[in-house]
Symmetry: C2
Subunit: 196 residues, 2 copies
């Protein structure tokens, strides 16, 4: 049985995956980023690490056939399908402080950091557990001089990535809240999830 | 008065900086990496973030005139001098799990993660607080296809970087423990520190 979940624009969800289960993350309308965090169910101190993922893969770009690793260098998720091929391992989740620093927005603004906290609190997780996510469909390009550019996602409506759980996991996914840049094509839409 | 400290090979130190003080990090023999973490003295939950640093600078490479930012997107340190110009913002500190995953070393091996924990424990900091450091003199090059290569440091004996504290800070510095790769030129040497 396939369980379907919709992540509303600028919101988040948390879910459990058993080892071997698949999580399909779908860009329903196109041009939208989904941030993903993962924690080993048996020990939430073991967290998805984009640093270990870059280190073990020897690359800033990952796609089909590549693993996402934990802070303890164990594989947590395997990318088994990917219709896009452009994702991000570098950017922290958007946060009130990011909006203040980069867009001079002092007031309330939906943000992935708060979305993560709101769905992970019930599992006893807190600020320190919200690390740099795997930013699915986020089209970050690196220039030879090291300059980082965030471009419009390459994902069209219906494009997806499928991740296989390598162990029992708690996973959180947000539909990213940035409307001010190319990151989400200057607007926020929903993300579809299927647990298979 | 200049306070001088030597970080022995494969070890670490912690120190306090007052706002405006300078920390000079010196590669005493050449070809050696120093990992650096920083915490706001008034709230250790505010931690140096290489992700926010990449995000705010828009670059994987930083040098003289660039700031290192916290997880709350505030400037913690300013690079006021840099005789090398090649450092790393991508790699987690070396750890027992990294040596197991990449070098199939199951037994004891000195590592920066343990070096950080051993000097930060007395400040109440723990595993989660040891995030990706600013890896000074670590010569990571990025290819246009996203491939990450760790090359021999460009630093020669006596080369240095000078960091200015933008707020009161707790700082930890390790002399990196990797002997198995080009990271530290296939051997480990000491790092010199001066608090000015």
């Amino acid at each position: 049985m396939v369980q379907k979940i919709t992540v509303s624009p600028r919101e988040g969800v948390a879910l459990k995956l058993k080892r071997g289960q698949l999580l399909k993350v779908i860009d329903l309308e196109g041009g939208q980023v989904a941030d993903l965090l993962a924690y080993r169910s048996s020990d939430y101190k073991e967290i998805l690490s984009t640093g270990a993922t870059i280190d073990n893969n020897g690359s800033l770009y990952i796609g089909k056939g590549d693993y996402l690793f934990s802070n303890r260098y164990n594989p947590l998720l395997l990318i088994v399908e990917d219709t896009v091929g452009a994702h991000d391992l570098l950017h922290p989740p958007c946060s009130p402080e990011m909006y203040r620093a980069q867009y001079v927005i002092e007031g309330e603004h939906a943000n992935c950091f708060t979305s993560f906290i709101s769905v992970l609190n019930k599992y006893g997780l807190e600020e320190k557990d919200v690390v740099t996510p795997f930013n699915i469909f986020m089209n970050t390009r690196i220039n030879v001089d090291g300059r980082v550019e965030v471009k419009t996602p390459l994902s069209k409506a219906g494009d997806y990535i499928v991740l296989q759980a390598e162990t029992d996991l708690l996973v959180a996914v947000t539909a990213c809240s940035v409307e001010e840049s190319a990151c989400n094509t200057y607007g926020c839409t929903a993300i579809g999830l299927e647990i298979i």
